[in-house]
Amino acid sequence: MAMTLNPTRRQLLAMIGQVAGAAAMYQAMTSLGFAAESGYSGEPDLQGPRESRRVLILGAGIAGMAAAYEMRRAGYEVKILEYQDRHGGRCLTIRGGDRYTEMGGHEITCDFEGDGYLNPGPWRLPVHHRAVFDYCRKLGVRVHPFIIKNNRAYLHSPQAFGGQPQRIGNVEKDMRGHVSELLAKSLHQGALDDALTAEDRERLLEGLKEWGVLDSRYAYRASDDLGGVRGWDIRPGGGLMPDARPSQPVDLSALLQSGLWEQLFNFNSYTFEPPMFEPEGGMDAITDAFAREVSDVIQLNARVTRIAQSDDGVTVTYEDGGRGGTVREESADWCICTIPLSVLVQLDVDCSDAMRKAIAAVPYASAFKVALEFRRRFWEQDDNIMGGISYTDLPLVQIAYPNYGFLSDGPAVLQAAYDTATAGRSFTYSWSTMTPQERIDAALALGRQIHPQYDAEFMSGTSWVWHRVSWSLGCYGQWTEDLRDEHYKTLCEIDNRLVLAGEHCSHIPAWLEGSLLSALDAIKRLDQRENA
């Protein structure tokens, strides 16, 4: 920041600072908090109010419903106002027959004929997201494994290997083999003698032979041993079937040039460590389970327009029946607001200037998904891919195969395109500009390069673009380190009678766990304030 600016420029920058809310806005957006450990320590231990206390909760997503569930158990009177005609917030599932009108007026249709579905928001659960798992256990949500890494699924680039997709396991084992060979070579040449004792050097060399499947001369070459690790061009059979032939490794240079090695890094992060899980039948099983507990306190179709507060209470103005509906008021002792900041910044809210700036500071990330239904599971039947995810350099970025209904006949649904702004790619913005039909056309045109069966087997498609969702105006709070330094604490602090909650008030943005932890922490602090 130590720069000499001429006055004109300083004025301009000040102007931008004013409209953007903060200088931190300018900082490079990096993926933050996505590998954060969950700080869950069991269900909240609330004392409850000493006298009758009313809590008004804005938003019936997972944060709002969890807050209502726990506060009511502790003895608070709770009520939830929800803008939509449904509960669940960004945790939802689209099935055959569903219709949704996007901002801009386009209708998203879903005409899936089978039992496949699309989870437009959260769709997989890391095992260290302990709050989510604890509530699934308590509320009776059945989960099954989500195959995050399938060695049979593909890595693909239109420029690599003539556009032929490569098996994830092959790329991984070839990289391991080649790196082992190179390391063995260095060890033999004495290049690492400073770093290793002679004994450790020998142990490492022996280990590399097994680890990388090197031959007796420490070379990574096709062999029956490697066939047992990397697979076969002719698989071992029975009776008088042809003799087995091990598969051929790909050259190191070709692999490095292909860029497929970098796609492997998708599997490196702690967040995406196997095993992952998903609820049976769709992600909305989780929010439906919460709704079973609290639906009697949810008022749907209530569009909040103003949050007013005084020293002893809060009054929320809303339009009953949605925009233009009858104006009504609700008063309470406390307000827990889970409205996304992208919407909240446009409402009339009584709060400190610092909190107002924090609410205005956080951009909402772009994200989209396209799902396609096909007549048969050609990925299982033709390509031997049972669940998991293929990655590509094409703008569709990834194809996720269903981890349910294996081997069944009849239609099945692929999540045929998905990306978010977190990785910094531009594609998600471009997908978001397309009509629902254009998204399907693009997903088909791109996806058939990986699965040529698309053309013969396609039935129908559906999609979701988070920036065209009228109740979230984007997908998730796109924090940067600088934004967090400047605004995060203020955003999460209790402001008189008001506290915010949701994924945007967490270090695990975009994840259910972040929403839950934020809600649990907010109600714990409210309860302490109540009993102070």
């Binding site: 931008i16 806005m25 801009g104 996304p340 992208s342 951009p363 471009s430 056309d441 390069q449 065209r468």
Partner: protein, 153 residues
Amino acid sequence: MSKRFLHAVIALSLLVTGGQAQEPPAPAEPRPNAEEIDTLLSRFSDDPDRFTQTDGEALYRTTCQACHMEDGHGAEGAGAHPPLAGNPKLQSRHFLAGVILTGYHGMPRFGDKMSDEQVAAVTNYLRSHFGNDYSDRISADEVAALRPPEDMD
């Protein structure tokens, strides 16, 4: 990504399906033709990290249009994506270019994905379309001067 290769593959696959489609009577719902698909896919940038379109309209069609819509009128819901058509805030070319560079409220910034020339092109496009008729244009140099210090490496 090699666009030419990608398009060749698409053209080829369309040729194959087209050939099949000619035998039975015309399908109920005609698929987009190769040219339409070509136009659609050209909305994706060649570089995953930056937008590669250069003219203002093409940049609008692949970024701003997501929220401000095909006609620049924006849309309303629980909150709104503001209209660009007839929006008095567009009077200042510096303000508009600044918003594109740095974002505004929930709107993400585009300064890291567009060059000064691209920001100028889309700013000038917005201020001369959708019923807007401002004659003063912003230059790439002016955009460069608006860039926050952190943006310049």
